[in-house]
Structures are given as structure tokens and as C-alpha cells.
């Protein structure tokens, strides 16, 4: 009896704990405190699913509590012989149908959101997206603004109310660009280019990081995102365009596998000599001391020489 009471109390306590924590804690959590339309859509989807899930949890917990309280063995029911019923078609049909309906109810908004996130956010503005190439290197972030011809390391400035089209790639291990308050993550992969739209609704500083494990320096591979008003952003772009140029020598230094947390600004981009989405082994070759371009040329020559 004692344990029975404890158990039902515990379970009731757990239910209330879940509800209370959800209600009280939500606004402080980064993912549930969106600052842009992408993160907002995701938050809405999450809250919707939490609603359905709490309903399911509630049904199961109530039934569970009822069963173990009501049908617990006690001295007074010691002679009771339970009926050996083998099932009930009707009941089983009901609890097959309800999950089917819930899955449909969740699948529709999920698919809608999946498709919506492929496009640039429509509201509140219809401006052209800013294109930013985000390249992850063990263990740092390189952001390239090809249209503005600037490149930054470990920090990202963006204008508010304007979609940012990230073109993601990696120089080595697989990473994931994630700015929780602006929206979900996507992988950076060497030899591949993935696209991700994000947007900030208001000026502010947001945390960005690599979310996918990349080894020793993983925990330190972070960056700051500053969303600025259009004017501030334009001013920053102008300043950046007068920074020093990025040389290949300097860039190859950045290819080193090491934790690097300094913030840098350059007025030219590495796309002039390498696009990691097309040349997956650039960083590997640089680290080995092989000139990545020269080597490729030689191999081509020798190969075509011997086979044609």
C-alpha cells in the first residue's frame, strides 16, 4: 500500500512538474525565444507538437495510474481470479486510429514548414537576401560576403529584416552552423554546399556555434552574430572594405588545425583561389605542405600522359 501511494503520488507529481516547468521556463530558453521568422516558425511547430504530446502523456499517465491503483493486489482481493480476455477489436481499433490522426495532424504542419524553410522568409520585407558563405575549419568560422567582397573570421554582421542566404561548406570535418535564436542548424560538409536561410527581426547580439562534433576544439568553435540596422550594417561593410586584403599565405595559416578565437576582417575573399565545396582536400593538402593547386595540375599531366 505504501509503495502504491508513493508511486501514484510520484507520477502525479511528475505530471505537474512537467506542466509547471513548461509554463514557467519557456521564455528563457533560446530555441523558444526566437528573434527571426525562421526560428519563429520552428517555435510554433514545437509548441504545437508539445501540445499534442502533453495530451498523449496525460492520457497514458491517467490510465496507468488508474490501472495500478485500481487493480493492485490487496489482501481483500486475494481470491479474485482475473478474466483471461485476449483483447478487444474495438478498443484496439480506437487506439490505432487515434495515433494515426495525431500523426496526420502533426505531419501536415511539419511538411508545410519543411517546404517553407527552403524559401527565403517572406515577412516582413521582400529584399534580396545577403549571400554569406560560411566555411567551418577546425576550429574556427570563416564568413565570406562575395557581393561585398569582404571576409570575416569568427564573427558575423548582418542587417536586420533581411534574409541571409548561407552557403555552407567545410574545409575538413563535418560541422553544423547553428544560431538558435535565428533558426535551426544545417551541416557544413567539405566538397558539398548546403543552403540555409535565416533572418533577424531586430538588432541584437546572438550566439552562434558549431553544433556538430568536430574533435578537440569543438566546444570553442563559436561565433558572435550581430544584427544591425540597415544603416549600421552599410557603415560596417564600408569599414570592412578598407581593411587589409586576405592573402593566400594568411588564409593557409587559418587552415591549421587549432583552436582560434580571434575575430578578423579582410577586404578580399578566399573564393579567389579556393571553394571548399568544390575542392574538398584543400586544407588537408595545405597541412601536409603540398601546394594544393600545383599538385592537382601535375597529377592531371602525368595521368593524361600515360593513358592517351
Amino acid at each position: 500500500m505504501n509503495i502504491l501511494k508513493k508511486q501514484s503520488k510520484f507520477i502525479l507529481g511528475l505530471i505537474s512538474l512537467i506542466i509547471i516547468t513548461f509554463i514557467s521556463g519557456c521564455n528563457d530558453l533560446a530555441v523558444l525565444d526566437p528573434k527571426g521568422p525562421v526560428a519563429l516558425q520552428q517555435k510554433d511547430l514545437i509548441m504545437l507538437s508539445i501540445g499534442f504530446m502533453l495530451f498523449i502523456v496525460l492520457v497514458v499517465f491517467v490510465l496507468f495510474t488508474f490501472m495500478i491503483v485500481r487493480y493492485r493486489e490487496r489482501p481483500e482481493n486475494a481470491d479474485y481470479e482475473p478474466p483471461q480476455d485476449e483483447g478487444s477489436k474495438v478498443l484496439e481499433l480506437i487506439w490505432t486510429a487515434i495515433p494515426v490522426l495525431i500523426v496526420i495532424a502533426l505531419a501536415v504542419p511539419t511538411v508545410k514548414t519543411i517546404y517553407a524553410l527552403e524559401e527565403p522568409p517572406k515577412a516582413p520585407s521582400h529584399k534580396n537576401p545577403v549571400v554569406v558563405h560560411a566555411t567551418s575549419v577546425d576550429w574556427k568560422w570563416i564568413f565570406t560576403y562575395p557581393e561585398e567582397n569582404i571576409e570575416t573570421v569568427n564573427y558575423l554582421n548582418i542587417p536586420e529584416d533581411r534574409p541571409i542566404l548561407f552557403k555552407l561548406t567545410s574545409a575538413d570535418s563535418m560541422a553544423a552552423l547553428w544560431i538558435p535564436q535565428l533558426g535551426g542548424q544545417e551541416y557544413n560538409m567539405a566538397g558539398m554546399e548546403t543552403e540555409l536561410y535565416l533572418q533577424a527581426d531586430e538588432p541584437g547580439t546572438y550566439n552562434g556555434r558549431n553544433a556538430n562534433f568536430t574533435g578537440e576544439g569543438f566546444a570553442k568553435q563559436k561565433f558572435t552574430v550581430t544584427a544591425q540596422t540597415e544603416e549600421d550594417y552599410e557603415q560596417w561593410v564600408e569599414e570592412a572594405q578598407s581593411a587589409r586584403k586576405l592573402t593566400q599565405e594568411k588564409y593557409n595559416e587559418l587552415m591549421k588545425k587549432e583552436i582560434y578565437t580571434d575575430e578578423l576582417t579582410f577586404s578580399s575573399t578566399h573564393l579567389e583561389w579556393v571553394d571548399h565545396a568544390k575542392q574538398a582536400d584543400y586544407a588537408v593538402k595545405v597541412r601536409k605542405g603540398i601546394d594544393p593547386e600545383k599538385d592537382k595540375q601535375e597529377e592531371n599531366d602525368s595521368h593524361h600522359g600515360s593513358h592517351h
Binding site: 516558425q41 495500478i68 500523426v103 527552403e118 551541416y187 567539405a190
Partner: protein, 643 residues
């Protein structure tokens, strides 16, 4: 290679581990010698082909691995509790979460369940052993030496550190040079041989060796879950074999399957890994469902509600498990069609799982529920697994998953399903079948303390992690900053982990206490069981059943007890049994040697080991040992001894 490269050095934890390994080994050797138990160990256990003993050895190995994986977990919790702490260095932390994950899935969850399957399934179907007793021993010993190969990495050569998923390019030669990752590849490869053989063995056993009258729809639910699991193993494990082989070729022989250079395709690994990996999740959860079904039905004193629906839901879960693997990398940038498809297939798994949950609940309905330790673990499974399940549905919604992926939300989800699913089932099954294995029950009082500490600790540990995930805490970071604001919840989680640890220690203490003091079990049927394993004596004679039982319906033993007139007069016949053999352990040692050689790229050793393996295969081919017959008077003598 220098000695200080061969042995891992420079870390006090490792020296402590070195010392404990040496002392434990000396201790074991001393005890065995002092009590003159070497011959007993060899002839009763190491060479055995008896499914019951093999099952027990699996469980012992799994409990040791649970201890190792648990220590890893506690070290991780210690490091991650407070921001900026430096108890472990980054590299060490990475090694520990890699070994934690790999050990818990491959060397703890699977062998624990396979151990219970080994022990219980042949008894449940009224068989005298499995279809291939010799192969069964090969399965165990390849698993065991695969596990040993993986485990010595932390004192010799260094542990793998690319995560249990070992994503390339990180796990490739360029970014993770050295023996660590090789240990992962070869340890899993060798253990995988054993798993595949288990799959074939038990599939044929269940299909062909059921007692007369036990049609396929009269099989106990645990046997059903095992049958489906074995089919999953047979089709999923070859995929892992290939995936591991490709990475091994890349690392050891310079091929370019998964490399950054020369056209390699790292995504190939992710796909192959999860095409195996998702069915693997169900390989460790379906037998758990089977165990809960048996226990809930036994202690509610009711036949399982919706037997056929239970079977069909497992079949559909197994089928769906092969078409959901992309949900492990929704964030890879696949197009909307792909992500939508895999979102929906994944959510669809919730339907058969939901059906099962309600069938379990209605098995309790109008029952007379006896709360034993085994039943406590099984009952606790229902609400806890529901939490794990619904968060799984949330993760299945691809658009939302972009926010959960790689975070503590995910960590919490899979611990909720794997602990309240698999681990609770292992403990429940252990309490349930323990009397049959060892001839005495485990103590209920200690068992209940252990349960409540572990179960509450589990919730305290993992529930906060959902919120840490939603607050942007990625998995696998070894440290964070005060400014991140994750300190409070991490402290709570660590307190929970301590609760779980104490619960585990109490379980081990319970085994010791019960061994010393518990009342011996003589009836053979301590729980008023429903299935055939309870119909034979305790301890189980080596031939299991003197006379193969005849089955007249579901819950075969319940029917026999209700209708004792059915019992026929006892007329013994000679019983054919297989001989024990030392070849499986020798062959697995040869695999170990070969694997160790490959880890360090010492080719002579690798080839030497391989020759050993081939030699054992050759010997086996010329081995026409067809077992022996237990004569009738011997059977009579043994049967009398139980009266």
C-alpha cells in the same frame, strides 16, 4: 613505436585504471588457483555450448560493461557539471563519451538482451538447446573478445574519440590518426560476427525447434520479439560489416571510400551507419518489449491483451525501421521531399508503438497486479518510455528537428527510450529469470530501494536535459561558460546520475546478498509463471526437459497448471546432447590477436591471428563430433534428484 606511445600515459585516471586492472587480474588468478577452480572454469564454462551458461556469461559480461560505461558517464557528468571545469581535458572527454556510447549500445545493451534471450528462449519454446550450440559459443566468444579489444584501448594505444557514430572525415586517417579509431573498427567488426551468428542461430531455433503444438501464434511474446529481432540482425548487421570494412580499408590500406581527397564520399558512411543504426535501435528495444510483455502478463495474472496486435505492431516497427534512417541527419540539406518522406515514416512508428502501450495498459485492466521488483521495472517502463516516445515524435518533425538536432534534447530523448526501454527491461528480466538461473530470488527489499533510486535518479538526470537542449546546449561539448546559463540544470542532472549510480551499486549488492542469504528456490515456478521455462526444474537440468512438453495453446504452462489431467505418464527416452568444445574460444582469441595486429598495423601479427582463425575452421571441418546420448537411467537419476 615507443613504450610511452604504446601505453597511454600522463593521466592519473589512466594510472588508476592500469593499477585496478593489474590488481583485479592478480586477484582473479589468485582466487582461481587457491580454490583450485581452473579446471572447473575451463570445462564447465569456457568450453560450454549450453545456451543457459552462455546466456549467463553474456549477462556477466554485459554487467561489467554497464559498470565501465557507467563510470564513463559519471566522469562525463563530473566534467560537465560546472562551467569551465578541467577535470578532464577535451581529448579525454571525447574519448570517454565515444567509449560510453559504443560500449552501452554494442557491448552492454545487445549482449544483456542476447544473454536473456539465450537463457530464456530455448526454455520458452520447450527445446533442449539452440539449433547450433557450437556456433552459439562462437557468438559469445567473438562478442567477448571484440569487447575486450575495444576496452583495452584506454590503456594501450588510446581510445577512439570520434563519437560512437564515428562520422567521417573526423574519424578518418587525416583527422584521427593513430590506433584509437582502429580499435573501434576492429572491436565492432569482431563482435559483429558473433551478433550475426546469433541472428541466424535463434531464427532457425525458433522456426524449427518449438515443442509440439506450439504453432507460431502460440509462441510467448518474448520469443516473438526475439524472432523479429533476429531478422533485423540478419539484414542490418551486414551493412555495418561493410561500413566498418570500408573505413578500415581507408585507414589501413589507403583506399578512398570516405576520404576528402580523390573522390571519397563521407556521406556514404553516414548513410550506411544509420541504415544499420536505426534497425539496431529496434534490435535493442524489441526484445525489451518482449520481456515487459511476459512480466506484465505474469504479474497482472492475465493473458497478454491483444496478442496478435502486439505481434503485428512489432512486425511493422521492424519493417519501418529500415526506412527511417535519414531522420538521423535531416540537417544534411536533403531536399524537402526527402525530409518530408522520412519525417512521416518516422512519425508512423509512433502508431504501432502506441498500440503496444495501450495493450500493456489493458493487460493490467481487471488484473490482480502483484508488485515485485521485476514488475516495478516493467511498470515504470510505461510512463517513462511514453515520455521518450513523444519526444521522439517531436524529433521526427524535420523542420523542428533543425533546432533539436545535436543538442541535449536529443541526448535526453534517446536516453529516455534506451534506459527506460532497454535498461529497465534488462533489470526486469534479470529479476524475473534470476531464480531460474541461480536457484534463488533476488531480495525484494533491496531490489525496491535499487529501483526507486535508479528510476527517480534517471528522471532527475535526464528530464532537465530536454530544457538544456531547448536552451541551445549542444551535445558532446566538454565544457561551457557561465554566460551560457546552463549551470543549474546541469547540477540537477549530475545529482540524478549519482542516484542512478547508487541504484546500480545496490543491484550488485543485491546479487551478493541474495547469493549469501536468500532462501533457495525449489519449486521451479516462483512467480506462478505462464510459459514453459517455469515448467522445468530449478536449477534447470542441462537437457532442460526430460520430456518435451506438449503445447495446447497460448500461455502453455498456465494451461498445464489449470488442467493437470493433461500431463502424460513419464516415459523417458535417451536424450541427445552436444559436446563441449574449446575451439570457439581459441578461434576468438585468434580473432583478437589478428584484430590487435591490425589496430597497430603490425601485419605479421594480423596474419598470424588470421592463420589461427583459418586453422580453427579447418579443424572444425574435420570434426565429426555428433554429440552423445544421455541414457534413460541417467535421466531417471537426475529427475529423481529433484523430488
Amino acid at each position: 613505436m615507443k613504450w610511452d606511445e604504446f601505453f597511454v600515459t600522463g593521466d592519473p585516471f589512466i594510472y588508476a585504471a592500469d593499477a585496478s586492472i593489474v590488481f583485479t587480474s592478480i586477484g582473479i588468478v589468485f582466487v582461481l588457483t587457491y580454490y583450485k577452480k581452473w579446471k572447473w572454469l575451463w570445462s564447465e564454462w569456457l568450453t560450454t555450448v549450453d545456451h543457459k551458461k552462455i546466456g549467463i556469461m553474456y549477462i556477466i559480461a554485459a554487467v561489467l560493461m554497464l559498470f565501465r560505461g557507467g563510470v564513463d558517464a559519471l566522469l562525463m557528468r563530473a566534467q560537465i557539471t560546472a562551467p569551465g571545469s578541467e577535470i578532464l581535458k577535451s581529448q579525454h572527454y571525447n574519448e570517454i563519451f565515444t567509449t560510453h556510447g559504443t560500449i552501452m549500445i554494442i557491448f552492454m545493451a545487445m549482449p544483456f538482451l542476447i544473454g536473456l534471450i539465450n537463457f530464456a528462449v530455448p526454455l520458452q519454446i520447450g527445446a533442449r538447446d539452440v539449433a547450433y550450440p557450437y556456433l552459439n559459443a562462437v557468438s559469445f566468444w567473438t562478442f567477448f573478445f571484440g569487447a575486450m579489444l575495444f576496452n583495452i584501448s584506454f590503456v594501450i594505444g588510446g581510445s577512439p574519440s570520434a563519437g560512437w557514430t564515428s562520422y567521417v572525415p573526423l574519424a578518418g586517417e587525416e583527422l584521427s590518426p593513430g590506433p584509437g579509431q582502429n580499435y573501434y573498427l576492429l572491436g565492432l567488426q569482431i563482435a559483429g560476427i558473433g551478433t550475426l551468428l546469433t541472428g541466424i542461430n535463434f531464427l532457425v531455433t525458433i522456426l524449427k525447434m518449438r515443442a509440439p503444438g506450439m504453432s507460431i501464434i502460440r509462441m510467448p511474446m518474448f520469443t516473438w520479439s526475439t524472432l523479429i529481432t533476429m531478422i533485423l540482425i540478419i539484414f542490418a548487421f551486414p551493412v555495418l560489416t561493410v561500413a566498418l570494412a570500408l573505413m578500415t580499408f581507408d585507414r589501413l590500406f589507403g583506399s578512398h571510400f570516405l576520404t576528402l581527397a580523390d573522390g571519397g564520399l563521407p556521406m556514404l558512411w553516414l548513410n550506411l551507419f544509420w541504415i544499420w543504426g536505426h534497425p539496431e535501435v529496434y534490435i535493442v528495444i524489441l526484445p525489451a518489449f518482449g520481456i515487459f510483455s511476459e512480466i506484465i502478463s505474469t504479474f497482472a495474472r492475465k493473458t497478454l491483451f491483444g496478442y496478435k496486435a502486439m505481434v503485428w505492431s512489432m512486425v511493422s516497427i521492424a519493417g519501418l525501421s529500415f526506412i527511417v534512417w535519414v531522420h538521423h541527419f535531416f540537417t544534411m540539406g536533403a531536399n524537402a521531399v526527402v525530409n518530408s518522406f522520412f519525417s512521416i515514416t518516422t512519425m508512423a512508428i509512433a502508431i504501432p508503438t502506441g498500440v503496444k502501450i495501450f495493450n500493456w495498459l489493458f493487460t493490467l485492466y481487471k488484473g490482480r497486479i502483484k508488485i515485485t521488483s521485476a514488475m516495478l521495472w516493467s511498470l515504470a517502463f510505461i510512463p517513462n518510455f511514453t515520455i521518450g516516445g513523444v519526444t521522439g515524435v517531436m524529433l521526427a518533425m524535420a523542420a523542428a528537428d533543425y533546432q533539436y538536432h545535436n543538442t541535449y534534447f536529443l541526448v535526453s530523448h534517446f536516453h529516455y527510450v534506451l534506459i527506460s526501454g532497454t535498461v529497465f527491461a534488462c533489470f526486469a528480466g534479470l529479476y524475473f529469470w534470476y531464480p531460474k538461473m541461480f536457484g534463488h530470488r533476488l531480495n525484494e527489499r533491496i531490489g525496491k530501494w535499487s529501483f526507486w533510486l535508479f528510476m527517480i535518479g534517471f528522471n532527475v538526470c535526464f528530464f532537465p536535459m530536454y530544457f538544456l537542449g531547448l536552451d541551445g546546449m549542444p551535445r558532446r561539448i566538454y565544457t561551457y561558460e557561465w554566460a551560457d546559463g546552463w549551470f543549474d540544470l546541469n547540477v540537477v542532472a549530475t545529482i540524478g546520475a549519482i542516484g542512478m549510480a547508487i541504484g546500480f551499486v545496490l543491484l550488485i549488492y543485491n546479487i551478493y546478498w541474495s547469493f549469501r542469504y536468500a532462501e533457495r528456490e525449489t519449486t521451479g515456478d516462483p512467480w506462478d509463471g505462464r510459459t514453459l521455462e517455469w515448467s522445468t526444474h530449478t536449477p534447470v537440468p542441462f537437457y532442460n526437459f526430460a520430456i518435451i512438453p506438449e503445447v495446447s495453446g497460448l500461455d502453455a504452462y498456465s494451461r498445464m497448471k489449470r488442467d493437470p489431467a493433461q500431463e502424460k505418464k513419464k516415459e523417458y527416452k535417451p536424450i541427445h546432447m552436444p559436446n563441449y568444445s574449446g575451439k570457439p574460444i581459441f578461434m576468438s582469441v585468434a580473432f583478437f590477436i589478428s584484430g590487435f595486429g591490425l589496430v597497430f598495423e603490425w601485419w605479421w601479427m594480423a596474419i598470424l591471428g588470421l592463420i589461427g582463425v583459418l586453422a580453427m575452421l579447418l579443424l572444425r571441418s574435420f570434426d565429426y563430433d555428433d554429440g552423445y546420448y544421455v541414457p534413460v537411467d541417467e535421466v531417471e537419476r537426475i529427475e529423481k534428484s529433484y523430488e
